[in-house]
């Protein structure tokens, strides 16, 4: 291949840029922030809705504000993970496991709040919402594992084909 110019950005610099961009710890950190923000939305809402006595306006506004802040952070971290720090197959599996753990945490914490306050409606709401969340998380995990298995299988098949000189 004829080369008449050399890039200002060398291969090594480009590789360094890539290594920074695909860093796994960064993705896990953003996933953790996303889960914490979502868990925050769920638990603050549960506390708010299970208050036994009518709350003064300022307390209601504070609860509402906290839920909105957590929703905003969830949206931001979700955007980062969709557009900037995208998840590769291995990260999607990690994300699936984290979703399962955090959904389970929400169910346990939410049911505990409901039981302590003896609020049947809250118990039912947390049970239904938590079960839907957990099912969605398990489905996400299964899909991620299935996709990763498929890619690993294809990778091995192609590696074998390359070693044996072709694919038919």
């Amino acid at each position: 291949m004829t080369q008449t110019h050399s890039s200002g950005l060398t291969v090594e610099q480009a590789q360094e840029l890539i290594r920074r961009e695909i860093s796994t710890p960064t993705r896990v950190r953003y996933l953790m922030f996303l889960m914490i923000a979502l868990l925050g939305v769920g638990l603050i809402s549960t506390l708010w809705l299970t208050e036994p006595m009518p709350l003064p306006f300022r307390t209601q506004a504070a609860f509402g504000g906290l839920v909105l802040i957590n929703l905003a952070w969830s949206a931001f971290f979700g955007w980062v993970l969709m557009q900037r720090k995208v998840l590769y197959a291995v990260h999607s599996v990690v994300a699936g496991w984290m979703a399962v753990v955090f959904s389970s945490t929400f169910i346990v914490a939410g049911l505990t709040i409901g039981l302590v306050r003896m609020n049947i409606a809250a118990l039912a709401a947390v049970g239904v919402v938590g079960a839907i969340q957990l099912m969605a998380a398990i489905l996400m995990l299964q899909r991620a594992r299935h996709r990763r298995r498929g890619l690993l299988g294809r990778r091995d098949e192609l590696s074998r084909a390359l070693a044996h000189g072709g694919l038919s």
């Binding site: 291969v11 480009a14 695909i22 990778r155």
Partner: protein, 187 residues
């Protein structure tokens, strides 16, 4: 249908990247950084712009590769990203791309292929003339001869049928030959 080892290598590389293997990404960059940069540089005609666009191209490749549906089409997909970025930038810079197309009509055909490629020391002259060609011809010849993409891969990058690639390639070769023989500036 048997698949050649180069296609297998490309698909394998794409899949390793989709899995998130750091070594796969490093190999991808080591193999394709220079060909992509040369393509962008030749089309952009500026080193600084090419450096900026190659970084943007790599970022888009990183962000888009998990959703690449046909990993075997990795190379045309990457060149397509570079091309789209380049076209967006060139559209901003040159609003009247049609002027370049019109320059083609003024070219005369008096080619003699044997004469053109007689001496190796004329290579520099060929590359210089290539850069001065109207952008569509320069792009086609760069992809085919310098980046060594197949007719089919070029068709995927430019989103045109293989037959059209062949006919445009034929035309671009003739324009290049003409420019080598006439010694007149193209634009």
């Amino acid at each position: 249908m048997p698949v050649d080892s180069e296609t297998i290598e490309q698909e394998l590389l794409a899949i390793r990247c989709q899995l998130g293997e750091v070594a796969g990404f490093e190999e991808l960059v080591a193999r394709w950084h220079d060909p992509l940069w040369q393509y962008i540089r030749r089309m952009a005609d500026q080193n600084d712009l090419a450096d900026e666009l190659i970084q943007e191209t790599w970022l888009r490749v990183l962000r888009g590769i998990p959703n690449l549906r046909e990993p075997a089409r990795l190379v045309p997909w990457m060149f397509g990203i570079a091309r789209n970025l380049l076209m967006d930038r060139l559209r901003q810079k040159y609003r009247q791309e049609a002027l370049l197309e019109n320059a083609l009509d003024d070219l005369k055909s008096t080619a003699d292929e044997e004469h053109v490629y007689e001496r190796r020391d004329e290579l520099a002259n060929v590359l210089d003339k290539l850069e001065k060609l109207p952008r569509p011809q320069c792009e086609l010849l760069t992809l085919y001869y310098l980046n060594e993409l197949s007719i089919e891969q070029i068709g995927q990058v430019l989103e045109i049928p293989n037959g059209t690639v062949k006919s445009r390639l034929f035309h671009a070769r003739r324009v290049l030959k003409d420019s080598l023989l006439t010694k007149e500036p193209l634009r």
